[in-house]
């Protein structure tokens, strides 16, 4: 006996009405009942959906184990992700108060502790990177501007939340008296990297929480390749075979595989960090048109996934959809290039030209996942590098923490004014400061104004973490410099890695992935924990 049958319009009558997609066949009394009965309306909707479902195309698909047990079927992201039995989803917004409280506590603690451990010498601009750090005698030795326009000077962009309040004590600082000797003074510490032999792939992609990293194996993006999943200590936890992959959240990887050349229909699946498939998205996705490169996925890290359905990284007729854990939404024109850090905004490039490994076009900011247009910048033309995006990883674009700034392949875009500034390549800090390297000089940006930094030597490249760490790395053999969110500056000793051509810090600052050359000139990819 149906639980819907008692005292209501009979299930068969509702089913018959749904089959004809009209209530005309019902008696007046049944129609009146239906207007006031939520249960009957629900069942009618259920019949309509059932008929639509049964008429859909049938496929062999991987189903999440959780979908195979009796439970209410919900719509929406929260239900969807619960249904997938993924790791407990943490709402970034719910963590904000906790994070703020922790930051505040940490800052208060640092205010007392760090002045006792400030470095008396900074790395010279020449590249001498051995940061000699000695304890200063007293917490009362106030922060003194260092030599040159350092970021630690009052009013510098790092501000009160910046990572360097204690790093700018110049040589003229006067010890104010004996203080406690730190049990563990900050000194250059070798970071034995885990060299990823046989994994020449680059770029890599850190999970939003820094717990895992994707490293591409094989070569090129034109065929299925093995993508290794490693934890932050560099040890493999799983692998997937895919053309491209991205993090949907910290425990979920979305990957596309068509097993053929780009242009073929692709299947999008979700895997956990062990590489086990937990779900396959409905439908097939096809990228077509000239310029398609296989980069058809962009994860927000907070649960949303943008999927190029047409054009991929093509020049004109590009389109994409958003999957937010529930249904796949309607297509939107353009190429998705970056989610905001909270996942609520998406930067979309409307390509007007594709040449020389880069794509230019005008910008649009849309809300995620609704794709409602927030702002269009038809007068703002930006150019984005299709590499490394062409290899199926995050495009070279990133929102600032407040969502009002965007950097796209070295171009800083003020989204509130629609103005652009050439800033150079770099990354954001959690307090909204942008650090870039431009023309060999490290620049600290507050808004659209920059200040040269003298702490970091010239000639390097910059990478940052969302945690607030900054690393400068060099292609000429100098060891990389790490400025931690806590304010300590030290050089990294990566045994076996002679020079670096790229580096990515884990978002939590707990590890670094590097691409470089070994001492015997061979290409090397490595992951090193930072402790």
């Amino acid at each position: 006996m149906s639980r819907f049958s008692s005292g209501h319009v009979s299930s068969d009558r509702l089913g018959e009405a749904a089959r004809h997609a009209t209530l005309d066949g019902l008696r007046d009394s049944e129609r009146m009942h239906l207007e006031g009965c939520d249960q009957c309306r629900r069942l009618y909707a259920g019949y309509r959906l059932t008929d639509r479902l049964l008429a859909a195309e049938w496929h062999q698909v991987a189903l999440p184990a959780s979908a195979l047990v009796e439970k209410p079927i919900r719509s929406g992201l929260s239900g969807r992700l619960r249904g997938l039995s993924l790791s407990p989803r943490r709402s970034p917004r719910s963590l904000v108060p906790v994070a703020l409280a922790l930051c505040l506590a940490a800052l208060v603690g640092l205010a007392f502790v760090l002045p006792q451990f400030v470095p008396v010498g900074k790395p010279a601009a020449s590249g001498s990177t051995a940061a000699q750090v000695l304890p200063t005698p007293s917490p009362s030795s106030s922060i003194t501007p260092g030599v040159g326009p350092t970021a630690s000077s009052p009013g510098t962009p790092f501000g009160s939340a910046g990572p360097r309040q204690s790093s700018g004590v110049g040589p003229e600082s006067t010890p104010a008296g004996p203080g406690p000797t730190p049990a563990n003074p900050i000194t250059p510490v070798p970071q034995p990297p885990v060299t990823l032999a046989g994994l020449p792939g680059w770029p890599v992609a850190w999970a939003p929480d820094g717990g895992h990293i994707l490293v591409a194996g094989g070569s090129g993006f034109m065929s299925q390749r093995s993508i290794q999943i490693l934890n932050s200590t560099g040890h493999q936890t799983g692998s997937i075979s895919a053309d491209s992959a991205t993090w949907v959240d910290s425990r979920t990887i979305a990957f596309a595989g068509h097993g053929k050349l780009p242009g073929a229909a692709a299947t999008i699946s979700l895997a956990n960090v062990s590489g086990h498939i937990v779900a396959t998205l409905p439908g097939h996705y096809r990228e077509s048109g000239p310029g398609s490169t296989g980069a058809i996925l962009l994860g927000s890290g907070t649960g949303e996934l943008a999927i190029a359905t047409q054009g991929g990284w093509g020049p004109s007729a590009s389109a994409f959809v958003i999957w937010d854990g529930g249904a796949v939404g309607a297509a939107h024109k353009g190429v998705p290039i970056a989610f905001s850090q909270d996942g609520t905004k998406l930067a979309v490039l409307h390509p007007t030209g594709l040449a020389g490994g880069s794509m230019s076009g005008w910008l649009e900011i849309v809300a995620a996942p609704t794709l409602r247009t927030i702002a269009s910048y038809t007068h703002v033309t930006v150019r984005i590098s299709t590499s490394p995006a062409g290899s199926g990883y995050a495009p070279d674009a990133a929102f600032g923490p407040d969502g009002n700034w965007l950097i796209v392949s070295g171009t800083l875009v003020d989204l509130t004014r629609g103005k652009t500034t050439q800033a150079g390549d770099g990354g954001w800090l959690p307090n909204g400061v942008l650090i870039t390297s431009s023309g060999g000089t490290v620049l600290i940006w507050q808004g659209s104004h920059s200040t040269p930094d003298s702490d970091f030597p010239a000639g390097g490249s910059i990478a940052t973490s969302r945690h607030g760490d900054v690393v400068e790395f060099f292609g000429d053999g100098r060891p990389p410099l790490l400025l931690t969110a806590g304010g300590s500056l030290r050089q990294l000793d990566l045994p076996g890695v002679a020079s670096l051509s790229d580096a990515q810090l884990a978002p939590n600052g707990g590890a670094i992935a590097v691409l470089g050359k070994s001492t015997d000139g061979k290409r090397v990819t490595a992951v090193a924990p930072l402790n």
């Binding site: 008429a55 496929h59 439908g283 249904a327």
Partner: protein, 161 residues
């Protein structure tokens, strides 16, 4: 062309048809094995087939029966296969909606898969399932009602037209 010749001449087509059937019924990675065994079994017993025009239906019945046996054996041995299923996929709805098919009672699910998934006529499905056409119609009716009840909340939440 005799039955024996048809086995040989149409082997590829028969094999593909049976593999599709077995996979749709849930045999997974064993589908090809079951399909091949079914053809070999039928070939040895081709003298039992009275009406040659019913070769395909006969083969399907054999393959379906072997698939059901295989699934029962798996269940008894509590073997876990990767959760792949032959389900309808509507891009505008959650995969959980598609998965609702797999939660139907076995006979209802088989009827739905054969008729809606593989496009069999009810009579063809009845032959595969070794039941009457009326039974298949009843199973389909019940399956539709069970699905509607299962999907009711989702459908209303999504305000589907």
């Amino acid at each position: 062309m005799g039955v024996r010749d048809r086995f040989d001449a149409d082997y590829a087509k028969l094999f593909a048809d049976l593999t599709t059937l077995c996979r749709a019924l849930g045999a997974g990675a064993s589908s090809e094995d079951i399909a091949q065994e079914s053809i070999l079994h039928a070939r040895e017993r081709r003298h039992q087939l009275r009406d040659e025009s019913k070769l395909e239906a006969w083969l399907r019945r054999i393959a379906a029966r072997r698939t059901f046996e295989h699934l029962r054996r798996q269940r008894r041995m509590d073997l876990e296969e990767p959760a792949r299923a032959f389900v309808p996929v509507d891009p505008s709805t959650s995969i959980d909606v598609s998965a609702a098919i797999t939660l139907l009672p076995d006979r209802e699910r088989q009827a739905v898969v054969l008729v809606y998934g593989l496009g069999y006529e009810q009579q063809e499905a009845a032959e595969v399932m070794d039941v009457t056409r009326g039974t298949v119609a009843t199973l389909l009716h019940r399956a539709r009602r069970h699905l509607a009840e299962r999907l009711a909340v989702y459908a209303q939440d999504r305000d589907l037209p």
